[in-house]
């Protein structure tokens, strides 16, 4: 449907990822065991955040995203976000990355679902950008990239109508459809029900530009108001909310998109699946070929590795203790997770290999009548190894 979803998707999902990483890396800092393995210093944490933001907001990456194109599948999205998460000295094991993705997705789903007006998707994105700016305020080069991207976003999206924003939102809602993973932070704050569905209140302020329901007005042939009557709207709505700022800076007013993880409570990043939930689609997608091309272009446009060869990288179980991992999994997973080291060198090789193979693919695409080929399967398998 909408061809303009990707920049907003990456800013918001990427933003949520940074919020969570920031909180988890701070949590690791409070380890009592002072050995090197367990402790992340403040400079380490800032390094990771700066590296990821630098890659995500790089001109080449953002330019690629800004090209009108369809939204990716979950599989492709997760691959790119995994790559983004690994552009620094921190490496996540697959289980951590899975949980991270779940948290990111459910947070963004919540924001899109509750977004008061479709245009407010921009305010949500700007809330993320504002906090990202805070993370990188000590690094002028990266800060500049963020500002530049923000200006581009403002320019591109200011011409969209409300109807087009609603189409964008509807496209995102299809992407999130049937995902009801419970997040302990949301359950605790009572914005999510035990069923996994979000709470939609029938009280509170109406969106800017909307009138409180309850009034019927009739007019005569000349357009003069003839009568007014009220009807029971069955809710407790109020009016008068300010409009947030759509500029580079300013009060966004809207709270959606702000950092919910500021307070340091490890258990708030637990997720659990509801019994009858459907998994996000991880089956091979018949259109994977087209997406692989997009993916290869996107990976190719990402900044080269931020870590010089020889500098140590650190593996991390994002959700600390094994106990917590088990509790969080709700006993549904079968085995204990193993920490798998994904080294920088392999990554780079994989990315360039991917780009090369995808390049071959675009030439041969027209000749192939049957889209499902062994090459496609190999590429998908290669992605799984990342």
């Amino acid at each position: 449907m909408s061809l303009r979803t990707l920049p907003l998707v990456f800013i918001n999902l990427g933003g949520e990822m940074l919020y969570i990483l920031d909180q988890r890396l701070r949590a690791h800092n409070t380890s009592e065991d002072k050995s090197e393995k367990g402790v992340w210093s403040e400079s380490d944490r800032k390094r990771v955040l700066n590296d990821i933001v630098g890659t995500m907001f790089s001109k080449s990456f953002m330019d690629e995203l800004l090209k009108p194109q369809q939204l990716y599948s979950h599989r492709t999205m997760k691959t790119v976000l995994t790559r983004l998460a690994h552009t620094s000295i921190m490496k996540l094991n697959p289980a951590s990355m899975d949980k991270l993705y779940e948290l990111m997705i459910m947070a963004f789903k919540y924001q899109v679902f509750l977004c008061p007006r479709p245009k407010d998707l921009l305010l949500i994105s700007y809330n993320h950008i504002d906090t990202i700016r805070e993370f990188v305020r000590d690094t002028p080069v990266v800060l500049n990239q963020v500002d530049e991207t923000h200006r581009n976003i403002i320019e591109v999206y200011s011409s969209l109508s409300e109807g087009q924003f609603q189409l964008l939102r509807q496209t995102l809602l299809i992407f999130f459809q049937d995902m009801h993973i419970r997040v302990s932070l949301f359950l605790k704050n009572q914005i999510q029900n035990p069923s996994g569905r979000f709470v939609l209140t029938t009280s509170g302020p109406v969106p800017y530009g909307v009138d409180v329901p309850g009034l019927i007005r009739t007019f005569d042939l000349r357009g003069r108001e003839v009568s007014r009557s009220e009807f029971p709207a069955g809710g407790a709505y109020s009016g008068l909310v300010r409009e947030g700022s759509f500029d580079l800076n300013g009060d966004r007013v809207l709270r959606l998109g702000r950092n919910l993880y500021r307070v340091d409570h490890p258990e708030e990043t637990q997720t659990s699946r509801t019994p009858s939930v459907q998994q996000p689609d991880s089956t091979p997608n018949p259109l994977a070929k087209e997406e692989l091309n997009q993916l290869a272009r996107l990976m190719g446009s990402m900044k080269a590795e931020n870590v010089p060869i020889g500098e140590p990288q650190f593996r991390i179980n994002l959700f600390t203790t094994d106990q917590e991992e088990e509790a969080a999994s709700g006993g549904e997973q079968e085995a204990m997770f193993q920490v798998i080291s994904i080294q920088a060198v392999q990554d780079e090789q994989a990315a360039s290999e991917l780009a090369r193979i995808a390049g071959q693919f675009t030439d041969e695409e027209e000749k192939l009548e049957n889209p499902s080929s062994n090459k496609g399967d190999d590429l998908l398998a290669l992605m799984d190894d990342l």
Binding site: F113, E162, G163, I174, Q177, T218, P371
Partner: protein, 336 residues
């Protein structure tokens, strides 16, 4: 006034699309068909009136002869013509028409794809039967395609393209099929809230244009020469179709309206929105002032649900059905 009845389970949850529910009542067979869109699949359920038999069918929007090409569907709607009923599915790729039970596809029309990729999405949305032998479908460019439908068979042709709207079509509605004579029998609405009023024929005639206020009109209905329009601001407006005179304005919902429906025999109006409310209204014509009045009758709240489809199940409004985003059921309400 209404109470909730047993819901009908559907195979997939409903997607957040305007007017995402269509109902077809087949009295001779004591059946009602329901159709709901989920991403690239159309779910149809056939429900017997005694509540004992439900049969499901799923359709995918696929280009014929292309094995894997699928696309997102914007709307699926039943079109009732004197001689036949069709199920019309509009998607990113084009328009498909099936027999009403979804068993056979009788027609496929591909949308023109632009040569160079543009930033504008391309899709078809807005479906209505018009008069005795036409089906109109809207397009994202603002064009309205008019198809000529023979009384049987698949010799369906594109008879005319109406190019009056500048923004993507959101919904289309008509009245006065069969023997009734009407001045205006078609209304088309777009993303900017503009509406066009037409008279059908070999060449469709534009009777009036009601300008929009940059607020999307997501759902529109036509009843006794009155246009009923639902907007993104949660308002419902009643206009006289041929003159564009505003009769009434209702601050009906706290969020975007996704669906309006009319029960033509009783003058009942149904409105549903993202605020989780479905409301029932009564319309009455006042011949002295030559205008229409609207009165509120009833509310239903579907907890924590953004409603995307609401339709009466019969012409009197005795029962209505509702769908919501992420909900895998069709909720039904019946008059007490």
């Amino acid at each position: 006034m209404y109470h909730k009845e047993k819901s009908i389970q559907i195979k997939n949850s409903a997607s957040a699309l305007y007017n995402n529910l269509s109902v077809l009542r087949i009295a001779p067979r004591r059946l009602t068909y329901f159709t709901v869109v989920h991403a690239n699949v159309v779910n149809t359920v056939s429900a017997s009136w005694d509540g004992l038999n439900y049969s499901h069918r799923q359709l995918q929007s696929k280009e014929p002869n292309v094995a894997t090409s699928t696309s997102l569907i914007m709307q699926a709607a039943f079109c009732v013509l004197p001689s036949r009923d069709l199920l019309v599915v509009s998607s990113q790729k084009g328009i498909q028409m099936y027999e009403s039970d979804g068993s056979i596809m009788v027609y496929w029309h591909a949308l023109d794809t632009p040569e160079a990729p543009t930033a504008q999405a391309v899709f078809a949305r807005g479906i209505s039967a018009v008069s005795d032998n036409y089906i109109c479908v809207g397009v994202s460019s603002g064009a309205v395609l008019v198809f000529d439908i023979p009384s049987k068979g698949s010799n369906i042709t594109l008879s005319e393209v109406l190019e009056e709207h500048k923004e993507a079509i959101t919904d289309i509605a008509s009245e006065c099929s069969g023997s009734q004579e009407c001045l205006a029998n078609l209304v088309t609405a777009d993303d900017g809230g503009s509406m066009c009023v037409w008279k059908s024929g070999e060449e469709f005639q534009l009777l009036n244009k009601i300008p929009g206020l940059d607020i999307t009109c997501s759902s529109v209905k036509l009843w006794k020469g009155t246009v009923l329009a639902g907007y993104g601001t949660g308002q419902i407006r009643l206009y006289e179709a041929v003159t564009g005179i505003l009769h009434a304005e209702v601050n009906a919902h706290a969020r975007w309206i996704y669906s309006l429906d009319i029960a033509p025999f009783s003058g009942l109006l149904l409105s549903a929105a993202e605020d989780s409310f479905v409301r029932v209204w009564h319309l009455s014509m006042t011949p002295e002032t030559n205008s229409v009045e609207i009165a509120h009758l009833h509310n239903e709240c579907v907890t924590d649900t953004q409603i995307c489809g609401a339709k009466f199940c019969d012409g009197d409004g005795y029962a209505f059905a509702v769908t919501g985003y992420d909900l895998s059921e069709i909720i039904r309400y019946v008059q007490s």
